[in-house]
Symmetry: C2
Subunit: 318 residues, 2 copies
């Protein structure tokens, strides 16, 4: 048995791959485009060859394979993804080799990595909330991601924070994601900007907010308010030890976390707000979580527990 696993984080745009040793050393990373527009069968075939190439680069069959995929997923099958278009793909279909394999939900697998290796290392119960193009969370309970009865849990991005608010692309009204995702912040600024400026990014809205641009400040404030409402609901329901913020919007650091912590506490009259923490693993969270799944598939349920945080520092997925 070789002393590495192949780990793959399958996103709608690109796939992040890595080889990770039993002691947590990342000996190789690579990235490949997800050929989503060519249909699910081509995506599966691309995953197979990506895994094969990574294994060959590592010097042979890995001890296991772990994959983080979007949509509805069990450890043994990718059941459904609106994004990629597949249905009921057995885990073994992704792997060209006869080695143990384990699948996980993309956000929850990232949350697993933050739980075992990252910002949630000291907490057993927390929310991992990556704020990117969309917003979905990983509900971590007793150190493990919890996906609900059928695997549809963690959809905090579609909590109705403003019940009479703006329509969301999902068909609901006033969803958190419509106000506070990185793309919503960018979109809402562009839509309301009076000058015919070119489309902005969330990063640019953050910079404009920091520099005192009134419209940017207003939109940023609405995003913070929406997040505070959703996180208040989360805290009241699940009493977490912490909330770990990740994704693009969290890159704004204290510009987001300071007003959010204040607003969240204001929404919680009879209890302390859980502390906000910055995610530690960045865009590598999904790949690292997939590595944990790969080692679990290989029979090492305790994978990651003894890994030094130092080994996680380099190299990150490019």
């Amino acid at each position: 048995m070789n002393s590495f696993v192949v780990a793959l984080d399958v996103g709608g745009t690109s796939m992040k791959g890595g080889l990770v040793t039993r002691s947590g050393e990342i000996i190789r990373t690579d990235r490949r485009a997800t050929p989503r527009d060519r249909g699910p069968a081509v995506v599966v075939a691309t995953i197979r060859s990506f895994i094969d190439d990574l294994a060959t680069a590592g010097g042979g069959a890995p001890a296991g394979v772990g994959l983080a995929v979007p949509g509805l997923v069990t450890a043994d099958a990718a059941l459904y993804s609106a994004n990629i278009g597949w249905r009921d793909v057995p885990a073994t279909d992704f792997v060209p080799l006869d080695v143990p394999v384990m699948l996980g939900h993309d956000v929850r697998t990232g949350g697993l990595a933050e739980s075992v290796l990252g910002a949630g290392r000291e907490f057993s119960d927390f929310l991992f909330l990556p704020i990117g193009t969309g917003i979905a969370g990983a509900v971590i309970l007793h150190g493990e991601p919890y996906g609900g009865t059928a695997g549809w849990g963690g959809e905090i991005g579609h909590i109705p924070v403003f019940p009479e608010g703006e329509p969301c692309a999902c068909g609901q009204i006033g969803c958190l994601e419509t106000y506070a995702s990185a793309s919503a912040v960018a979109r809402r600024y562009s839509t309301r900007a009076t000058s015919s400026a070119s489309p902005v990014t969330a990063e640019q809205v953050a910079a404009l907010t920091a520099s005192g641009d009134p419209l940017a400040m207003e939109i940023w404030d609405e995003a913070v308010e929406a997040l505070s409402l959703a996180l208040a609901s989360y805290a009241l329901l699940l009493d977490p030890s912490a909330i770990v913020l990740g994704g693009g919007l969290a890159e704004a650091g204290s510009l987001l976390s300071v007003p959010l912590a204040e607003r969240l506490q204001k929404r919680l009259a009879f209890r302390d707000a859980p502390p906000l923490r910055q995610a530690a693993l960045g865009v590598s969270a999904g790949m690292l979580g997939a590595a944990l799944l790969g080692w679990r598939a290989a029979g090492f349920a305790d994978a990651g527990v003894t890994w030094s945080p130092d080994v996680l520092k380099t190299p990150r997925v490019a």
Copy 2:
């Protein structure tokens, strides 16, 4: 060892006690006032003598004692209750006999009973939502109540459903409980009724709603809307198999459940709403859950699993 446990559900107004056999037969029930206005020490002493009297009536020392208490609680101690006023009372202080004892949070212990014996019997993951004077829920995950990191979980009554809405007694704004508890429904009707009618109960508002009274219908509708928002958030976060409605307001039956199910589905565009079920154990849920805790304390972790639903039918706590 005797073949019964003493079970006690300690409420702010009254305590419901029972003797329950190993096979789930309720051989005795009794009720006593909670002398809350005389301070926590008197409440503890009253619990002790109530347990003693119940044990004597049963013919000697019970196999164990289970207590459902409000506030912050572990299996071994009642840590805090604003309602009763106690702090850090060890479980053994409640029991005048040298027998095993286990404490549980009142709502979560009721939820445990609904999970093992009642309407949640066929579900491993659900929300037990008793709607009474206040609103708090029991989050049931993998068949067991989940209280969060410090035991403050399940406070769905204080989710901000209308962020710019009415102030809640808790100090927050727009809490579910302010619109949808039985006392809120009664209070909101009385406040807005133009005639100087005598104060009404939630039951009366329900009857007025059924008979087409416009104000009652409006207030009932706002309660349903508030509940649908909170339950949508719950469903999106935790993907439960069902929502089990209990407490006074749920007595309204289909007057509540039919519009609520419809409104909840309307708030959930991309997934089916979890089914709503009526709680099965009524006001006995807490006492029956305490009986399960008593048997667990006595070493029978599987207590209740084999109990016939028939034995639960009579006698109910008076």
